[in-house]
Point group: C2
């Protein structure tokens, strides 16, 4: 099928789970996965966003990579990926969840190539096996030629309750068996541990990776069909980084995720046979959503005692710790195991790795005091 391939990278997040490293104006995707600045040839040491761009660069040239971010982050985002044309960084005037983001990017792609295929990627994930990732992307793009929408499902390695799951159905018709495409039987919300274990045992459940693959005009048609208010708004707003009525219209677009607004209704129609079924391609390329400091520890290089710490850290009877500190700061740990110790210019966090999900409590506490807004 004809048409060039575009990538849309969603980089509007402002998560709090990496406090104190992450802040409203320095979100996770603009942070390095590994703290120290050595090894500049590894883009994940610059930022997760830069690593995402570098990962797909052999498949999609910079001029066809779009990044959608928040208005407040646009300059920092452009600095993070200087190889992209400035007009390829789309700045949302207000956060409206993923459907308006993808709708706007899709219109922008369509204006450049009405036959384009699009891959939508999160900006803040980690991939260990880059070649495996690219192979899976290619298969997902193929699958998107045989379905209105394709996604990548990650082969689960543990009964994780932090992800949605995809139950796979029959092999996808029209696609080579080797490509591994299947019809999506159903999308499942984040399960409890009992169900997650059942999914893992069943063998035909995959983690929902949040990646989408589609022909631009298919997505545009789906939005027109399922989110007509969004389609109308986009009609009036226009496309591109400098859409004529961006500031006026974008904040009024319906705030809804592409999962609820497009994927679910599409899945229902597919089940009733009215439209083509959603495709899922399974992937196994060392994927992580880098969801917490615990993940950062898992993904970081470690010494023989399991410590992920900058060179020069003094470790006395210390195991399994994650240490990050500003340049020139020597950290010493004595007799502590499995801690997270993160220092920035203005803050220090100390907690067990197992409490990584509770970082939000600190950010909430800081916001509640009303002091030092820049701390959050």
């Amino acid at each position: 099928m004809a048409g060039s391939t575009f990538a849309v990278i969603m980089a509007g997040g402002s998560g709090t789970r990496f406090w104190p490293a992450s802040r409203t104006l320095r979100p996770k995707q603009l942070l390095p996965l590994v703290g120290d600045a050595e090894g500049e040839d590894d883009p994940s040491r610059a930022s997760l966003l830069a690593a995402t761009v570098a990962r797909i660069a052999p498949l999609v040239p910079p001029e066809r990579i779009l990044v959608v971010t928040a208005k407040a982050l646009v300059e920092a985002t452009r600095r993070a990926v200087p190889e992209l044309p400035a007009e390829n960084v789309l700045a949302e005037p207000a956060p409206r969840n993923t459907a308006p983001c993808i709708g706007w990017a899709t219109r922008t792609v369509l204006a450049r190539d009405p036959e384009a295929r699009v891959l939508v990627l999160p900006s803040d994930h980690h991939v260990a096996d880059t070649q495996g990732f690219r192979d899976t992307i290619s298969r997902a793009l193929d699958a998107a030629d045989h379905a209105p929408l394709a996604t990548i499902g990650i082969k689960p390695t543990r009964p994780d309750t932090g992800f949605g799951y995809i139950e796979t159905g029959a092999p996808l018709e029209g696609l080579a068996a080797a490509s591994g495409g299947h019809v999506v039987a159903r999308f499942v919300e984040k399960p409890d541990l009992v169900r997650a274990r059942e999914f893992l045992a069943a063998g035909n459940f995959l983690w929902n990776s949040g990646m989408f693959f589609f022909r631009a005009k298919e997505m545009d048609a789906s939005i027109r069909a399922y989110l007509p208010e969004l389609a109308d708004g986009l009609d009036r707003m226009g496309q591109g980084a400098n859409a004529p009525k961006l500031d006026e219209i974008f904040p009024t677009l319906p705030s809804i995720s592409v999962d609820y607004g497009v994927v679910e209704p599409l899945a229902k129609e597919a089940a009733s046979g009215r439209r083509g079924r959603i495709a899922v391609v399974s992937g196994d390329f060392g994927w992580s959503d880098v969801g917490s400091w615990e993940s950062a520890w898992e993904l970081s290089p470690k010494d023989q005692d399991g410590n992920a710490a900058p060179a020069g850290t003094v470790l006395v009877d210390a195991r399994g710790n994650l240490v990050r500190a500003t340049a020139g700061k020597t950290v010493a740990l004595i007799g502590v195991d499995e801690l997270v110790v993160v220092e920035t210019d203005d803050a220090i966090l100390v907690m067990p790795r197992s409490r990584a999900q509770d970082v939000r409590a600190v950010v909430d506490a800081l916001k509640a005091t009303g002091r030092a807004a820049k701390l959050t």
Copy 2:
């Protein structure tokens, strides 16, 4: 008995147990006990040395307080106690343990008042009950009028193995019973836990506080008798902060503690009846030698969860922690108990309070690497 009272404060220490706050050029006695700089009316928030001077100020005026320190620390020491005349800060050209220190200070006192009484105090201890401390000092000075040497023994509150002990003997003759002076039956080295428990149960053992009380000429005579080489050296060196041959002679003086060099031989002679017996006065005034970060936590004000932390520290499910940080740094603790978290301009230490004795291992490790000499 006639003669004015002088205080000699030994402030030459360069301990490593408060790293990273303490350094060679910023030893414990020049540090505040409590980290933040608020409450300047409490001298222990300025430095332990300043607190020591303030504690005895009602008993001894500044012009009769001498401080003996190391040459490298003399300027910092003078800044810490600006109320003392500069010539009252004696700077040792080389560390020679306590006998030369006390010998030199005693000669310096004798030159000002041949009938003087002297109290020798460590510079880095903490006292909770200042009035009780002063009362005990007065009793010890009285006792020193009836013995060649007096000391204060601290009523033990636990079987501590970190202190030497003093076994008390008969009440001291010639002293009012109310003053509580006793003859020292014997000095005991740091015991093991079994013996320390026996001492505590026996009831007639006290902790050796390292404070000495004597008439200056008695001490000078004892040094002449038991450490003639030191006495000869002091003869040639001269007295005062600007002793004529200080730099030449002091480094050649015998390096020996006053305990081994003077107190022990004196105790033996006393046992054989040749000289007067050593006196000990028991004290119970909330004394601590502030020997580690654990002690610092014990002595610091704490919140209802036992955390000793600066205002603004974010504590989520955290108990019994000691936190110190530089101004402008917000520390957040999640789900950690009984940790020490100390940050300075160039270092961070994290350890359980129970590992406070192991701080030396970090300093040793840093010295071994040879990097960043200023870190130690």
